[in-house]
């Protein structure tokens, strides 16, 4: 895995927020390199700054110290090459499912694809997430899981170099979540995207990731440990229950999170 091309480099990043009650250092000295095709999860307790880290990578916020490099170029704002799937789907309610994806396609491929090609691409993406049947529905007419599928289609349609998932399944019920996790694994296997996912679900992190980045608690949070998940792909959730590698990864993450919690209290 490490011999692959490093797509994303997070270099000594720190983030301090100016709040009304003084400044708050959310992140300190975060360094991480993510390689092409890798699926990396970032896990930690709530308030550990993992979402801040994702926002920095997305360019929605700016690092106070250090820098983030995509293919060697400093990130200085948001852009479609770092597409985000937001936690609460963020579909535009006045557009149809198709319209939401097409909006992104039209912007990203303006001048590069003809309208007919953009239409094809939009439908292909909807097909990829199994939402082609609801192309003409509005977001208010489909379920939460379906909305998130469309959100994923919209992000994938931008052909991002890195796909950023911000707790994408957090708001879904367990069954829907499992379905979507399987879909994401399938898509990742098929397209080989580089993915960074924020999560607080240990099983989700182990099931989906090649590497799990565990973050220490804030303030001044940083990377505590990194665990490589050696499980072969394709992974099937039913077969993993007794797999020793799976259990080892799971308990490593659990141990880290528990220790961090008790450290904090003591």
């Amino acid at each position: 895995m490490t011999d692959r091309h490093p797509v994303l480099r997070i270099s000594k990043v720190g983030k301090t927020f100016d709040t009304r009650s003084g400044s708050f250092e959310a992140l300190r000295d975060v360094a991480l390199t993510i390689h092409e095709g890798e699926f990396v999860s970032i896990i930690g307790h709530s308030g550990c700054g993992k979402s801040t880290l994702l926002n920095l990578v997305a360019g929605l916020e700016t690092a106070t110290l250090g820098g983030i490099f995509l293919d060697g170029i400093l990130v200085d704002g948001p852009g479609p090459e770092r597409a985000v799937v937001f936690q609460n789907h963020s579909l535009l309610p006045w557009l149809t499912v198709y319209g939401n994806v097409r909006l992104a396609v039209d912007k990203v491929f303006a001048g590069r694809k003809s309208p007919a090609e953009r239409d094809d691409w939009t439908r292909e993406m909807l097909d990829l997430v199994n939402m082609a049947h609801a192309a003409d529905k509005r977001p208010s007419e489909i379920s939460g899981g379906m909305k998130q599928r469309v959100g994923i289609a919209r992000a994938l349609a931008m052909e991002p170099k890195v796909l950023l998932l911000d707790e994408p399944f957090g708001a879904l019920d367990a069954l829907t979540r499992a379905q979507l996790q399987d879909s994401v694994m399938e898509i990742h296997a098929r397209l080989g995207n580089t993915v960074v996912m924020i999560t607080h679900d240990v099983d989700e992190a182990v099931l989906l990731s090649d590497r799990i980045v565990m973050m220490s608690n804030g303030p001044a949070a940083g990377i505590g440990e990194i665990h490589d998940v050696a499980l072969p792909r394709p992974r099937r959730r039913l077969e993993l229950g007794e797999n020793t590698d799976y259990l080892a990864a799971r308990s490593a993450v659990m141990r880290f999170l528990t220790r961090n919690r008790t450290d904090k209290v003591a």
Partner: protein
């Protein structure tokens, strides 16, 4: 005609929005308490026709009794009916600049309302956008709006006459003043209510300022704008009657005043009913447009 127009719920919901500058939260439609059993479509229709018919019948009965027993000066029902037949038998006559059929009277009034209303839309929506999106602008302008908004638009009529020295532009000016506040305030509230999520989507897509306005700000704010416009239009139609009474000339408002001077009370009652019907149509038209673009309540 859509029966929702005749329900009490929507106008009240609208008035709430006008009364406060807080962001109107699209609430689920209020429903009647559920009936014990489902009504058939025929029963529903029957109720929709029969119940109002009973009310109208009671009003006519009360009117007849009152007229016969207490106020003989008031016209009775047949007198008004005959007047209505007379008025509607030739609504388009023109006997001179100050003597025209009822249809012309209504159309002149509608023309003024439309003129003032469209002007208010043209000015109010950009101003609403500025106030909603720019904190400095909001702080600078909101106090002025707060002072002017509760003033009866008719108070502006003398100023209109002073500026324009003509009746028509002054009436249009009054309608403009009437219409502009709800449009500004609702548009501003709509802009403020745009979730950060939508803006983040736009930022990830690297939308420029123009795309931001055209693809996020305007569609997201549209239901609020249309709510403001619906409120404005309803109020404008009420105000024009009073304004025309003061300005004279031609128009349904002056028609009523003129008939009062002629002591033709039946004509006044007919005019009141016409004003009500035109008001319903304006409300229904604007309500139809609003619902057409209201993504917040589009659930099937």
């Amino acid at each position: 005609m859509n029966s929702a127009v005749l329900s009490i719920v929507e106008p009240e919901k609208g008035l709430d929005m006008a009364a406060s500058n807080t962001a109107p939260v699209p609430s689920p439609q209020l429903r009647e308490p559920e009936a014990a059993r489902e009504r058939t479509p025929f029963e529903t229709l029957l109720r929709a026709v029969l119940l109002p018919a009973i009310t109208f019948g009671l009003v006519l009965l009360g009117w007849t009794i009152m007229q016969a027993a207490f106020v003989p000066a008031f016209p009775d029902v047949p007198a008004v009916w005959n007047k209505a037949v007379e008025i509607f038998s030739d609504p388009f006559y023109v006997y001179g600049p100050n003597d025209m059929g009822i249809a012309w009277q209504v159309m002149y009034s509608l023309g003024r309302v439309l003129g003032g209303f469209l002007l208010a839309v043209a000015v109010g929506i950009p101003v609403g956008f500025l106030i909603g999106s720019n904190k400095t602008f909001e702080q600078a302008w909101l106090p002025l709006i707060a002072i002017l908004r509760p003033v009866s638009p008719l108070a502006w009529l003398p100023i209109g006459l002073l500026i324009f020295r003509a009746v028509d532009p002054s009436a249009i000016f009054v309608i403009f003043i009437t219409s502009i506040w709800p449009i500004i305030l609702n548009t501003a509230a709509g802009v403020k209510a745009i979730p950060q999520d939508y803006l983040n989507v736009a930022r990830v897509l690297n939308f420029n300022r123009r795309e931001m306005v055209a693809k996020i700000y305007v569609p997201a704010t549209l239901p609020y704008m249309l709510t403001g416009m619906q409120l404005s239009l309803g109020t404008a139609w009420m105000v024009i009657v009073a304004a025309e009474m003061l300005t004279g000339g031609i128009g349904i408002g002056f028609y009523i005043w003129d008939e009062w001077n002629n002591l033709s009370v039946p004509s006044i009652i007919v005019a009141i009913i016409i004003i009500g019907c035109v008001g319903i149509m304006l409300e229904a038209g604007m309500g139809f447009v609003r619902r057409r673009y209201d993504y917040t309540s589009k659930k099937e």
